[in-house]
C-alpha cells in the first residue's frame, strides 16, 4: 500500500466502512469464482489430455489390429484382410493426424509423433511389399508361384507317364521326384532349415538319374527342362517365402515386427510423455490454483487486517474515549479525524457527546453543590430541630417537674391551710362556745356588764372564724379544690333564708332591706350553699358601707335560647367607689383604701370569693358604682349550673 498514491490511500482509508466491507466481499466473491473456474479449467484440460492418452492407446490397439490383419492376410490370404488393413491403416493415419492436432493444441512435443508417422508409412510400405510377395506366392495351388509349381509337377508327371512303366527308371525317377517335393512342402509350410540345399541335392540326383537313365533324348530333355522350370519356380517360391520371412522375426515380417515394436515403443513413449504432460499440466494447474488461493487468502487476510485496523483501531480509540467519558474524565482532547466514514462520524459524535457531557457535568456539579448545600442545611436544621426538640423535652420535663412540684406544693399548702384552719377553729369553737355559755350564765345572773363584754368576745371570735373560713375557702378555690353540689331548689326559699340570716347585719347600721323578686323566678339547679354565701357576702358588704339607708335585693329570670339565667342584684346607698377602686374591687385582700379597713373592718376576701363561686356556677358578677351614691353588685347565674365546667383561674 505504501507505493500507492497518497490520494488513493487516503481515499481507501477514508472510505465508509460499508464500502470497505463491500470491497472485501467483492474480493471473496472473486476468489469464490476464480478458484472453482480454474479448478474446472484444470479438470477439463486434464480430461482433454486423458482423451489424448486414450487416442494414443487406441493407436496402439489399431497397431495391433494392423498386425492382426497382416497376419490374417498372410495366413488366410483373403483380400478382405487387405482391405481391413487398408481401412485400419487409414483410420490409424487419420487418428495420428488428429493426435498431431491435439498435440499442437496441448503443446505436447510433436517429434515423437513424427517418428511414429514415419514408422507407420514404413509399415505401410513393407506391408505392401509383403502383400506383393504373398500374391506372388499365392495361397494354394490355384494361383501364384505355387500354381506354377503345381503345373510344373503336372508337366513332370506327364513326361514320366510317357516313359515305359516297366523298368526301374520310371520308379526311381518318381521316388526321387517325391524326395524332391519334400523340401518344397517344407518351404510351403515355411519350415526353417536348409530346404533349398536338400532340394538342390535331390534335384542333382534326379537330374543325374534322368541323364543316366532316360534313354529317349527328347523325353530326357523334356524331363530335364520340366524339372528345371520346377527348380526355378521352387527357387522363386523359396526366395519370396524367405523375403516375407519364415517367422515374424525375419524377412519383411521381421522388419515389420521391428517397426511395429518401434511404433509400440513410440506409443509407449507418447503415452509416458502425455502422462508426464498431464502430470506437469496438473501440477502446474495445482500450483496455479494454490498460488491463486494463497493470493486470495493473502489478499483477504490483508484486507481483513487493513479493514480491522481501519475499523477496530479507531473503534478502540473511540471505546477508550467513551470509557474515559463514561468515567467522567473530560480533560482530554478528542483528535479531529478528517475521515469521511462512520469512524469520522463517531469521532464527531463523540466530540458532541463530550461537549454535552461537559455541560451535563457542570450542571451535575452545580446540582450536587446545590444538593449538598441543601442536605447540609437540612442536616443543620435537623440538628437544630433535634436540639430544639431535646431542649423542649427538657423544658417540658422541667415544666412537668415544676408543675408536679407546684401541684404538690399547692396540695401541701391546701393541706396545711385545711389543717391550720381546723387547728385554729377548734380552740376558736371552744372560745365562742364558752363565751356563749358565760353570756347565758351572766344573763341568768343579771350581770349586764359581763353580758356586754362576753358579747364582744363572742363577736370577735365569730369574726376571726369568718376570716379563717374565708382564707380556707380562697385557698381551696386557688388549689382548684372547690366542690360544687348542684341540686334543685326554689329561688324564693334561698332569698328568704338569706334575708333572715342578714337581718341582724341590716339593722346594725339602721338600714332597711327591700326585697324585689319577679313572679317568674321559679327554681334553679345550682349550689344553694354557694349562692347563699354569695348573696350574704353582698348584703353584708352593702350593710357595712351604708348607714340609714336601704339595701335592695332583687332577683329576676332572663329567658334565653341557650338556657335561662337567674339574676340577683344587691344595691346599696353607701359611699360608692371611683373607677380606680372598681378596677381592683375583686382582688383579694383589697378594700377601697387602708382607712376603709380601719373604719369598716372586713377581710377583703368576700368579693374575690364571690366572683370565684359565681364562675364555678357558670355565671359572672358585674359591679356598678357612683361615689357617694351607692354600689350595685349583679350576679348572673345559669338556671342549670354546668357540672364543674370551671376549673378556676390559673
Amino acid at each position: 500500500m505504501s507505493d500507492l498514491p497518497t490520494g488513493l490511500t487516503f481515499r481507501l482509508r477514508t472510505l465508509p466502512i460499508r464500502s470497505k466491507l463491500a470491497l472485501v466481499t467483492l474480493l471473496v466473491m472473486l476468489a469464490l469464482i476464480a478458484l472453482p473456474s480454474l479448478s474446472l479449467y484444470r479438470d477439463a484440460s486434464i480430461r482433454d489430455m486423458n482423451q489424448t492418452r486414450f487416442a494414443i492407446l487406441s493407436l496402439d490397439r489399431m497397431l495391433l489390429d494392423l498386425q492382426k490383419n497382416q497376419n490374417d492376410f498372410i495366413n488366410l490370404f483373403e483380400t478382405k484382410y487387405l482391405d481391413e488393413f487398408s481401412s485400419t491403416f487409414e483410420t490409424f493415419v487419420e487418428s495420428t493426424e488428429n493426435l498431431k492436432e491435439q498435440f499442437w493444441d496441448l503443446e505436447l512435443p510433436i517429434n515423437t509423433l513424427e517418428q511414429l508417422v514415419v514408422l507407420t508409412s514404413d509399415y505401410q510400405y513393407l506391408f505392401e511389399v509383403i502383400a506383393e510377395q504373398k500374391i506372388l506366392i499365392g495361397q494354394n495351388s490355384s494361383n501364384g508361384i505355387r500354381h506354377k509349381i503345381n503345373l510344373d509337377l503336372q508337366d513332370i508327371e506327364k513326361i514320366l507317364s510317357q516313359m515305359p512303366k516297366a523298368g526301374l527308371m520310371r520308379q526311381s525317377l518318381q521316388t526321387e521326384l517325391i524326395n524332391l517335393q519334400l523340401p518344397v512342402q517344407r518351404i510351403k509350410a515355411r519350415q526353417q532349415g536348409p530346404q533349398m540345399e536338400t532340394f538342390d541335392q535331390h534335384f542333382a540326383t534326379l537330374a543325374q538319374l534322368a541323364k543316366d537313365r532316360i534313354a529317349d533324348t527328347t523325353l530326357r530333355e523334356a524331363f530335364l527342362s520340366a524339372i528345371s522350370r520346377y527348380r526355378q519356380n521352387v527357387r522363386d517360391l523359396n526366395t519370396a517365402t524367405k523375403k516375407v520371412g519364415l517367422t515374424y522375426d525375419d524377412g519383411i515380417n521381421g522388419e515389420i515386427s521391428v517397426i511395429v515394436n518401434a511404433a509400440h515403443l513410440i506409443l509407449d513413449r507418447l503415452n509416458t510423455e502425455v502422462n508426464a504432460a498431464i502430470d506437469r499440466r496438473e501440477g502446474r494447474m495445482n500450483t496455479l490454483l494454490s498460488v491463486m488461493a494463497a493470493f486470495f487468502l493473502f489478499a483477504f487476510v490483508l484486507a481483513v487486517i487493513m479493514l480491522s485496523r481501519s475499523i477496530s483501531n479507531p473503534i478502540r480509540d473511540v471505546t477508550s474515549i467513551m470509557t474515559r467519558l463514561a468515567d467522567g474524565d473530560l480533560t482530554f482532547d478528542i483528535p479531529d479525524q478528517p475521515r469521511r466514514d462512520e469512524i469520522g462520524d463517531m469521532f464527531r459524535a463523540l466530540r458532541v457527546f463530550k461537549m454535552g457531557a461537559i455541560i451535563r457535568q457542570r450542571t451535575q456539579i452545580a446540582l450536587r453543590t446545590a444538593h449538598d448545600e441543601l442536605e447540609n442545611r437540612v442536616d443543620e436544621r435537623t440538628r437544630e430541630l433535634s436540639e430544639e426538640v431535646h431542649e423542649r423535652r427538657l423544658t417540658e420535663k422541667q415544666l412537668l417537674h415544676a408543675r408536679e412540684d407546684a401541684e404538690s406544693a399547692n396540695h401541701a399548702k391546701s393541706q396545711f391551710l385545711a389543717n391550720m384552719s381546723h387547728e385554729l377553729r377548734t380552740p376558736l369553737n371552744a372560745i365562742i362556745g364558752y363565751a356563749e355559755m358565760l353570756q347565758e350564765d351572766a344573763q341568768d345572773l343579771g350581770n349586764e356588764v359581763f353580758v356586754d363584754d362576753l358579747e364582744k368576745i363572742h363577736t370577735a371570735g365569730r369574726h376571726l372564724l369568718g376570716i379563717i373560713s374565708g382564707i380556707l375557702d380562697l385557698s381551696k378555690i386557688e388549689a382548684g379544690h372547690i366542690d360544687i353540689y348542684v341540686e334543685k331548689f326554689a329561688v324564693q326559699d334561698v332569698i328568704d333564708t338569706v334575708a333572715d340570716t342578714a337581718q341582724p347585719l341590716i339593722t346594725k347600721n339602721n338600714n332597711t332591706l327591700i326585697i324585689d323578686i319577679h313572679d317568674n323566678i321559679g327554681s334553679m339547679d345550682s349550689d344553694i350553699t354557694r349562692l347563699r354565701q354569695i348573696l350574704l357576702n353582698f348584703i353584708s358588704n352593702a350593710a357595712k358601707f351604708t348607714e340609714n339607708g336601704s339595701i335592695t335585693l332583687a332577683a329576676w329570670r332572663e329567658e334565653k335560647d341557650t338556657g335561662d339565667t337567674v339574676v340577683f342584684s344587691v344595691a346599696d346607698e353607701g359611699i360608692g367607689m371611683n373607677e380606680e377602686q372598681l378596677q381592683s374591687v375583686f382582688n383579694p385582700f383589697t378594700q377601697a383604701d387602708v382607712s376603709t379597713t380601719r373604719k369598716y373592718g372586713g377581710t377583703g376576701l368576700g368579693l374575690t370569693i364571690n366572683r370565684e363561686f359565681a364562675r364555678h356556677l357558670g355565671g359572672e358578677i358585674k359591679v356598678e358604682s357612683i361615689v357617694d351614691q351607692g354600689t350595685t353588685f349583679t350576679v348572673f347565674l345559669p338556671a342549670k349550673a354546668p357540672l364543674q365546667s370551671y376549673t378556676g383561674e390559673a
Binding site: S421, H422, R425, T426, P427, L428, N429, A430, I432, G433, Y434, E436, M437, E440, G461, R462, L465, S469, K476, D483, I484, Y485, D527, T529
Partner: protein, 125 residues
C-alpha cells in the same frame, strides 16, 4: 332522762359542749375517740350520739360504720360534728348514714333542736 354520748377528742370542746348539754338536763357520756365511742355506745346504749369526725385512733367515719353494722347500735341516731364545711363531707355523711350534720362552730340552739327532733322521731316512728 335522755342520755347522749359525746365523742370528741378536743378536751375544751368536749368540756364546753358537755356542760352546755348537761345544763339542758341531758345526761352526757363522754368518749375521746371513735374506738372508745363505739365501746361506750355498746355498753350504755345512749339515746343519741354526737360524733366528731376528725379524731385520733379511730375517726368518726370508721366508728359510724361500726355502729351502723351492729344490731344493738344501728338504731341509735348520730349527729356528725365537723369543722369541715366542704360539700363532699356533707355528701359522705348523708351517704354513710349520719342522721344529722352540725358544722363547727356549733349553733347550740339549732343543735338542741336537732337532738330533740331525732329523739322524738326515734320514739314516735
Amino acid at each position: 332522762m335522755t342520755t347522749l354520748l359525746l365523742v370528741e377528742d378536743n378536751e375544751l370542746n368536749r368540756n364546753m359542749l358537755s356542760r352546755r348539754l348537761e345544763r339542758m338536763t341531758y345526761t352526757v357520756l363522754l368518749a375521746v375517740n371513735g374506738e372508745e365511742g363505739v365501746d361506750q355506745a355498746h355498753k350504755h346504749q345512749p339515746d343519741l350520739i354526737l360524733m366528731d369526725i376528725n379524731m385520733p385512733v379511730m375517726d368518726g367515719w370508721e366508728a359510724l360504720t361500726l355502729l351502723k353494722e351492729h344490731a344493738d347500735t344501728k338504731e341509735i341516731p348520730i349527729i356528725a360534728l365537723t369543722a369541715h364545711t366542704a360539700t363532699s363531707d356533707r355528701d359522705k355523711a348523708d351517704k354513710i348514714g349520719f342522721n344529722a350534720f352540725a358544722a363547727k362552730p356549733i349553733d347550740f340552739k339549732a343543735l338542741v333542736e336537732t337532738i330533740e327532733g331525732l329523739i322524738y322521731e326515734r320514739h314516735n316512728p
